[in-house]
């Protein structure tokens, strides 16, 4: 039983990450409101950050800024990758919102179902 418990503790952050990912993806696929889809999309993207950052953490380590007082540092490489990913995420979001604004002007709605009613796609 305690083995099982430690398994849960070991993987707790991964499971939460996965839950966030799945919930974000669910919002994207299931919801028809285009703004909400984008919120879901950014949650989906954000959850990936944890997937990268948590394995790079070293217990007892400090942030990777070198100084004489510390000997153990967490892995800097995932941080760099995720910095890039954050920027890519917000760029996508900005473009998506720009599209949504234009769609709203063209159709008068941002609900996918209503757009399809108006011939959004053939």
């Amino acid at each position: 039983m305690s083995e099982y418990l430690s398994e849960v503790v070991d993987h707790y952050n991964q499971w939460i990450t996965i839950f966030l990912m799945v919930a974000g993806l669910y919002v994207v696929v299931a919801r028809g409101n285009m703004v909400k889809k984008l919120v879901g999309l950014s949650i989906f993207q954000t959850s990936v950050y944890l997937l990268y950052i948590s394995p790079g953490k070293i217990l007892g380590g400090t942030p990777p800024i070198l100084a004489d007082d510390f000997a153990v540092y967490s892995n800097p490489l995932p941080h760099v990758l995720i910095l890039t990913a954050i920027v890519v995420g917000v760029a996508t979001l900005a473009l998506g919102l720009g599209l949504v604004v234009r769609i709203n002007e063209a159709y008068g709605t941002v609900e996918e179902d209503e757009i399809f009613d108006k011939g959004g796609s053939e």
Binding site: K36, I43, P55, K57, P63, Y73, P78, V80, V88
Partner: protein, 173 residues
């Protein structure tokens, strides 16, 4: 761990709420929680960016977009069985995939012993920069950062292009 649980709770709120203003504010709270988690995980640079971007820029953009569109979501028309199925399958794949990942916080995983730790030894002698994240970002993987800047550039020009009014009303709107 508490923070993670709170994040999960916020996301449930996002899924359930239909008022989009509330959703946007919740997602901003989500970003702040994420930033706190990242600090706990020693990723201070990332935390700072996530707080500025997730809670700042994204929220402003979303509110601006909501101001230009509608702030209430329509009720869903069909029961979301297929999306549920897709989401569950992917979740299962991820649980399956992560179960034999190396344990959390261990220094001798492949990720923490190979390239990553190499940077820690090389940064000062080769670049003279103590913040290893900066030296990797700007120098070792400087080309990625160029790509990142180009992504921002693309999004910027793209949004301007989309929202620019046509001078000649021949096409569009």
């Amino acid at each position: 761990m508490v923070l993670l649980t709170m994040m999960a709770a916020v996301v449930i709120g996002v899924v359930r709420l239909r008022n989009l203003f509330a959703v946007v504010i919740l997602s901003s709270i989500y970003s702040f929680l994420m930033a706190s988690v990242l600090i706990v995980l020693d990723a201070v640079d990332v935390a700072m960016t996530e707080a500025a971007v997730g809670a700042g820029v994204s929220t402003v953009l979303m509110l601006a977009a909501l101001y230009l569109t509608k702030s209430e979501e329509a009720a869903p028309r069909h029961t979301p069985l297929l999306p549920m199925f897709v989401a569950v399958v992917i979740g299962a794949a991820l649980v399956y995939g992560t179960i034999d990942m190396p344990p959390f916080g261990s220094p001798d995983t492949p990720m923490n012993t190979h390239v990553g730790s190499g940077y820690l030894d090389r940064s000062i002698p080769e670049t003279g920069v103590p913040n290893v994240v900066s030296s990797v970002l700007a120098s070792y993987r400087g080309f990625d950062t160029l790509g990142e800047t180009v992504v921002v550039f693309t999004a910027g020009i793209g949004v301007l292009l989309l929202l620019r009014r046509n001078r000649r009303g021949k096409t569009g709107e």
